[in-house]
């Protein structure tokens, strides 16, 4: 069973815009979700104390979590739209890798995570990888 290659029929700028939309929504959603989970604490410990329902209640009563999920849902529908026009082997690695880089930047700025030289090197390697991937 062969599926047609769709990427060749799409304008490169349109492809970049689709991927950028996925990356921006995804980064915002993941940073908000990470902030929400950090504010809650260790879910395993909450589950040990309050049971599974308590853990689910703790997550579902966190406003930051819903803000994050809203952006992740937006990213998901952007991904569906992109997959309808582009190949999975381009969209999935490109969006995932760029999201890794933007998350490293957002994690340093907003979550105050320690993004050291090793992590920046990784970001550069991933950027080169994405260039080859989209070339």
């Amino acid at each position: 069973m062969n599926f047609p290659s769709q990427t060749a029929h799409v304008n490169p700028w349109s492809a970049a815009a689709m991927i950028a939309c996925v990356v921006l929504c995804s980064t915002t959603g993941e940073v908000l979700t990470a902030a929400a989970m950090k504010s809650l604490g260790d879910l395993d410990e909450i589950r040990a104390q309050s049971g599974l329902k308590g853990a689910i209640r703790a997550v579902l009563t966190c406003p930051l979590f819903f803000a994050g999920v809203s952006f992740l849902a937006l990213a998901f529908f952007s991904l569906l739209f992109a997959l309808n026009h582009l190949n999975l082997s381009l969209v999935a690695p490109a969006s995932a890798s760029l999201t890794l880089v933007t998350n490293a930047i957002a994690g340093k700025i907003f979550l105050k995570e320690n993004v050291d030289r090793r992590r920046w090197t990784a970001a550069v390697l991933v950027c080169i990888g994405v260039y080859f991937l989209a070339h």
Binding site: G41, E45, N87, L100, R118, R119
Partner: protein, 173 residues
């Protein structure tokens, strides 16, 4: 195990979504409702079920590790995506794309070699975390963690007093 679920469920879910979406006619921005209808097709629904499993594992991992540590686990799934795309969806993958995927994997390896949690100089809790299991992020649920900053209670009391004063000044208006 949780990070393994994150790495496996995400690419499997993406592959199901791709298979479902490529089987549909092209969707334009002028008809966004067709995207909603696409959710109920079998392959896309299966992909969503897998991605729900991924999200539950992902949330659990985020509660005890940095975002920049959890993400490499999902990024490693790119290799799985490439293999699935090549052998299951029969999509063409050029040598350059393979090189890109290898470079991304190297980058992910760099990140994974670092510490999983951000080092907080004011709060060296590595040994304490192993004992009480509270980890680095116990701000809301774990009440005893608040005792680590005795000044915090005084600051809160001062703020509360200031707020009451403000209220008292505003009330006559």
């Amino acid at each position: 195990m949780i990070l393994g679920l994150v790495a496996v469920c995400a690419p499997l879910g993406d592959s199901c979504l791709s298979r479902g979406m490529t089987g549909l006619p092209a969707i334009s921005l002028s008809h966004p409702a067709t995207l909603i209808a696409a959710v109920f097709t079998p392959w896309v629904a299966g992909g969503i079920a897998l991605l729900i499993g991924f999200f539950a594992s992902y949330l659990t991992a985020l509660s005890w590790a940095d975002l920049t540590f959890v993400l490499p686990a999902t990024a490693f799934g790119n290799v799985i995506v490439a293999l699935l795309s090549r052998f299951w969806l029969h999509e063409p993958i050029s040598l350059e794309r393979w090189a890109g995927i290898i470079l991304i994997t190297l980058g992910v390896g760099f990140v994974a070699q670092g510490p999983s949690l951000t080092e907080r100089p004011q709060k060296p809790v590595d040994e304490n975390a192993a004992i009480d299991g509270s980890g680095d992020a116990s701000h809301v649920i774990d009440a005893p963690a608040r005792e680590e900053w005795p000044g915090q209670a005084e600051q809160a009391a001062d703020l509360e007093t200031a707020a009451m004063d403000d209220l008292a000044q505003e009330q006559p208006r």
